[in-house]
Symmetry: C2
């Protein structure tokens, strides 16, 4: 099987052109020139995210096509959390020279597959050598009306979360211990796509503030609260723990299901603060139309900090340089 070192950089770029080079609406100049030229609305949302081997994943956890899909889903989650409509993506690949060309191609195919599914065109990127696999994805979208920011929350507004939490982090622990497959590993490998839900929540004016849960519910809720200068109270019994999590009988899982759900990270669900109880009811109906569960988990408070109902302060989450904050 040909390696990247054998076929060279431009053979891989040629493959990428084959996969992603077809025209797409709004793409005036796509991959293959110095820069892409894109038609965009007057207000643009842009975000970037990186997946690095040994930090965010190990090679044996994810087949290349799944790695590509995950990279897209993780990156686009930030636009979903703003209610933006993603339109274009750039994919920068750092790959070891001994990687098979077929594996590099599969990464791009996986990425492009999920991107197309959301009508997002892969319009550029970069290919470079690296000792570890690293994917940096930039996503660009349009903000239809006012974007939903982190800073709009006010006391007494209800807090809700899409889907379930904790499955991805438990999946990582299972994968790291050499266990394959299963719903928890799947929760990690293929995060949900909340792009449609995020846009509709924004468009309907139901969300006061929103963030995606990437570093753990408590930590991301903390970010939202600090941006809004408020606090939050979580009803621990209401937190929607990933269904597979309560059933795992395994010495491998080192935390309780609730701990995974509160601090695990990697879930890429949306954490939404609704304007009021009526907006919450509307949002639950709206999400149901997307086959997405929306669960009320607490409320915004005037007192700073994220606490459990009753008063205990909650802390912790993922820190990229240390291990846990």
């Amino acid at each position: 099987m040909a390696t990247l070192a054998e076929v060279g950089e431009f053979a891989l770029i040629e493959e990428i052109l084959q996969i992603a080079g077809r025209g797409a609406p709004g793409v005036r100049v796509g991959i293959g020139d110095d820069a892409a030229v894109l038609a965009l609305g007057p207000h643009v949302a842009v975000s970037t995210d990186t997946l690095t081997e040994h930090v965010h994943f190990e090679r044996q956890w994810l087949r290349p096509v799944a790695l590509g899909r995950r990279a897209f889903r993780v990156a686009v989650s930030d636009l979903a959390a703003m209610g933006a409509r993603p339109r274009y993506a750039l994919l920068s690949l750092s790959l070891p020279p001994d990687m098979a060309l077929a594996d590099a191609r599969a990464i791009v195919r996986g990425f492009d597959r999920d991107a197309r599914g959301e009508s997002v065109a892969l319009v550029g990127g970069n290919v470079s050598r690296g000792s570890e696999i690293s994917l940096t994805v930039t996503v660009i979208g349009v903000v239809a009306e006012r974007p939903v920011l982190r800073r709009g929350a006010m006391p007494n507004q209800p807090i809700a979360v899409t889907g379930t939490l904790g499955g991805a982090a438990a999946g990582v622990d299972l994968l790291a211990a050499g266990r394959r497959g299963g719903r928890l590993a799947e929760a990690y490998c293929l995060p949900p796509l909340r792009v449609g839900v995020g846009q509709e929540l924004a468009r309907a004016g139901l969300a006061a503030a929103m963030i995606d849960v990437s570093d753990g519910l408590v930590q991301d809720l903390g970010h939202l609260c600090r941006a809004s200068r408020v606090g939050a109270e979580i009803d621990l019994e209401a937190v929607p723990v990933a269904p597979g999590l309560r059933r795992v009988r395994s010495g491998v899982l080192r935390r309780t299901p609730l701990e995974y759900a509160l601090h695990g990270g990697e879930d890429y669900e949306l954490l939404v603060v609704l304007r009021d109880e009526e907006a919450l009811a509307g949002a639950i109906r709206l999400c149901r139309r997307h086959d997405c569960k929306l669960t009320r988990i607490g409320k915004i408070t005037a007192r700073e900090g994220v606490a459990a109902k009753g008063g205990t302060l909650l802390e912790g989450g993922y820190d990229h340089f240390g291990m846990r904050a």
Copy 2:
């Protein structure tokens, strides 16, 4: 001195906010939310580029502030080559946990300094752990009128290049041999900023096709020719070799000055195909106003391939997975 592992991810993000978080024209939402929200024209140019330790640089070659400046200049060069006006940038940092926070801050300061100099706002990015330093920069700009692409060249049009060539690659060889400083090392560390020149060449309608010289003159001219389905003939005696290069008496440099200028790469000068001889004269005057030399080095031909005047085919350049194509 505090390391990233000691202070954590969010301390570094806080530093980045201090450096780059001030408002800038057009930035509706800057660093600190899920995505940046930007005001942009209807047609947008976007490009991304990566600098990775051991591939594009070694830590001892560049102080952190110079690394940040170089990362900006390298990335923005792609927009310059399209005649676009860069407006926003995203910086994704992969950094080893044992790096000093002060060094990480200096990278961002250097980046932000050169970005501000070109009225480009740093609006987002990502911070992550990695075993090697890696910077992925996405730049976003507006295309004032028609962008200058690679595919516009036609036979008999003159080819010209800004500045001088070969200095950066020779500088790399000197730095790799442990030699410090000097104009050649400087040519590598601090590539020229051709943003203004690129925009004016585009706006004046003088350039038929354009590309920046990142992988070596012959290779990048080859890209341009393939995109335009033409060939090129270079007058080797006219190629503007970096002035310091002819004077180096060093067993360290393994190639002739002309070889460095033809195949070296890392120059980040603009390679421009002018509409005709009159446009060339206008372009030379235009560049002079920017204190930038523009040198005619050959002409476009109908026969494919990049050849020296006289007929010898020229080949070679940098390949990111092997060593030389």
